[in-house]
């Protein structure tokens, strides 16, 4: 029974990684940028959730909506302010900018909120308690996390596969110039992609602080990195890949704990990344590298 509850634990963790990994993979798919500031969006989301619950005394639903809206807004502003002017710059400039923004956001947060962790009132956000599934007791937060992420991922899939904007996103990610020549407003599509990625990160932030109830200025760094591993593992640029990769990383972590390697979880995750890069650089569901003629 311990294994089953650990597996549910892994699915919970994996859901969070998957949501964050989607942001990485979508942005990479569309402008070939590894957005290393993505983890910091989650950190900002954590603080928004914290302050709207403690200082604002808002209803948890309002706090959750504020978090998602805040993350989305921040990402759109960052994209317009920093990435958009670099549209035609070398990809490396974009990457360095992303790392710079990541460091900047961490330091700004440290300046205003100081470096000490603040505890997060997770019980105000999600109901405490467990339900019995068969003879395994499952925490409400695990259930809410798994269900909410699956709903988010289904919505995202519908958005990408069925709507005009989704088609435009896929068209831009395949051939930006041809899409432009078909009248697609590429700038809007890119901004929208950042917004969707950040909204998912906002949901991820809520689920993350529900699971690990504290907020620090550096909380996004490791989560962001693990989600990045998940995205690469699944095949960066691939949306189903990010989902699979997220769950894989979550399960690797809990299984490491289960077999008694709890001190090695982070190391194992990165070891898996190294192995994937060596054996199958395009990831589990990555597209084959396209030969440019």
């Amino acid at each position: 029974m311990l294994l089953v509850s650990q597996l549910i634990n892994g699915l919970q963790l994996g859901s969070i990684y998957a949501l964050v990994a989607l942001g990485y993979t979508m942005v990479y798919g569309i402008i070939k940028l590894l957005n290393f500031a993505h983890g910091e969006i989650i950190m900002v989301g954590g603080y928004i959730a914290l302050f709207s619950l403690t200082l604002g005394n808002f209803h948890p639903v309002v706090a959750a909506l504020l978090t998602v809206a805040g993350c989305t807004l921040l990402a759109v502003i960052l994209e317009k302010l920093t990435y958009a002017p670099l549209r035609f710059a070398p990809r490396l400039s974009l990457l360095i900018t992303a790392i710079g923004i990541s460091i900047l956001l961490q330091n700004v947060a440290q300046f205003f909120f100081d470096a000490a962790p603040r505890s997060f009132p997770a019980s105000e956000l999600f109901p405490v308690g467990t339900v019995m599934l068969g003879n395994v007791s499952v925490a409400y937060t695990s259930l809410v996390t798994i269900v909410l992420s699956i709903v988010s991922m289904i919505s995202l899939t519908i958005l990408v596969q069925r709507t005009k904007l989704g088609k435009a996103m896929r068209a831009v990610s395949e051939d930006t110039e041809a899409a432009q020549l078909m009248g697609v407003n590429v700038n809007n599509v890119i901004t929208f992609t950042f917004a969707v990625g950040a909204a998912l990160a906002g949901i991820g932030a809520l689920l993350f602080v529900a699971r690990f109830p504290q907020v620090t200025p550096t909380m996004g760094a490791m989560l962001g990195l693990k989600a990045f591993v998940a995205a690469v593992l699944g095949g960066i640029g691939s949306i189903p890949g990010a989902m699979v990769g997220g769950y894989a990383v979550g399960l690797i972590e809990v299984l490491a704990v289960y077999v008694g390697l709890s001190r090695w979880t982070d190391g194992l995750v990165f070891l898996v990344l190294i192995i994937v890069l060596l054996v199958r650089p395009t990831g589990i569901m990555g597209r084959k590298l396209m030969e440019k003629v």
């Binding site: 958005l159 904007l165 088609k167 068209a171 395949e174 432009q180 020549l181 078909m182 009248g183 697609v184």
Partner: protein, 274 residues
């Protein structure tokens, strides 16, 4: 869509002539002049060919017209409007659509989706509509689908609408590119070597289709082509480019007799001896 009920044969205002006009168009890449002093006038339902030896600058002219490159000199007028401030997307919105020499379909999208991306610009899409899936959104999506299938039926491709574009045979990919371009409701269609890689039978049927598209949509067609049978067969006007310069302009029969054109293609006897 500008008007979802537009028939397959749109009404066009033919007083707005010419549809496309280039005046003294030129572009330099570093010190190299790729195109210089290019002038052309295309009237609303004209089929005009652009020919010339390899490297003459034909595709560069298409890239200038679609603002993939910004011209160094000269102006492009589209239905009388100067396109100086337009970007690639605006050019498309104002009525230029094109295909590519090396096919650039969205290969992982289905045939239908490729056409729908072309229709994108034509449909007013509301962000909230797509997120909250309002009925009006799905209605316009359905109209777009019908329109896309209607356009695909030009080349009898409606039955393969759900296939991945990348999985189609070469000739069908070329035809799909034309349909995708037509979906943006252009007033002038630029075709970059539409017959490249096609067998004689396919070229023959393409020639028929080009004339048919012009008649149905009442648009101008400007095409680059090496297949002289096609150029001489469907074009009403032909422009010849060599080393980035326009060396001749006229009807197909005039062009075939023009000594400068013969020289550009075959070289002069004197040089051959030297």
């Amino acid at each position: 869509m500008r008007d979802p009920k537009i028939p397959l044969i749109p009404e066009r205002d033919h007083n707005k002539s010419p549809v496309l006009e280039c005046v003294g168009l030129g572009i330099d890449f570093g010190g190299l002049t790729a195109v210089d002093d290019f002038n052309i006038t295309i009237s609303p339902t004209e089929i005009c060919g652009l020919i010339g030896p390899n490297g003459a600058g034909k595709t560069t002219i298409f890239n200038l017209l679609t603002k993939v490159y910004n011209p160094t000199r000269g102006s492009i007028f589209l239905e009388g409007k100067n396109t100086k401030r337009y970007n690639t997307k605006d050019v498309n919105k104002e009525g230029i659509a094109r295909t590519f020499q090396n096919i650039r379909l969205f290969k992982n999208l289905t045939v239908l989706e490729n056409v729908l991306v072309g229709l994108h610009n034509e449909m007013d899409y509301r962000l909230f509509g797509s997120i909250f899936r309002l009925p009006s959104y799905w209605r316009s999506e359905r109209i777009a689908r019908e329109r896309a299938l209607e356009l695909l039926s030009i080349f009898n491709m409606q039955d393969i609408a759900e296939h991945k574009a990348g999985s189609l045979p070469y000739g069908s990919q070329r035809r799909l590119e034309i349909v995708r371009a037509l979906a943006t409701n252009p007033s002038i269609l630029l075709l970059d070597e539409p017959a490249a890689g096609m067998n004689p039978a396919e070229t023959e049927s393409l020639m028929e289709h080009i004339g048919q598209i012009r008649d149905t949509f009442q648009i101008a067609i400007f095409l680059i082509e090496h297949d002289m049978q096609l150029v001489m067969g469907v074009c009403e006007g032909v422009a010849v480019l060599n080393y980035g310069k326009l060396i001749a302009k006229g009807t197909p029969s005039e062009i075939q007799r023009d000594p400068r054109v013969i020289e550009a293609y075959l070289g002069t006897g004197g040089q051959a001896d030297a």
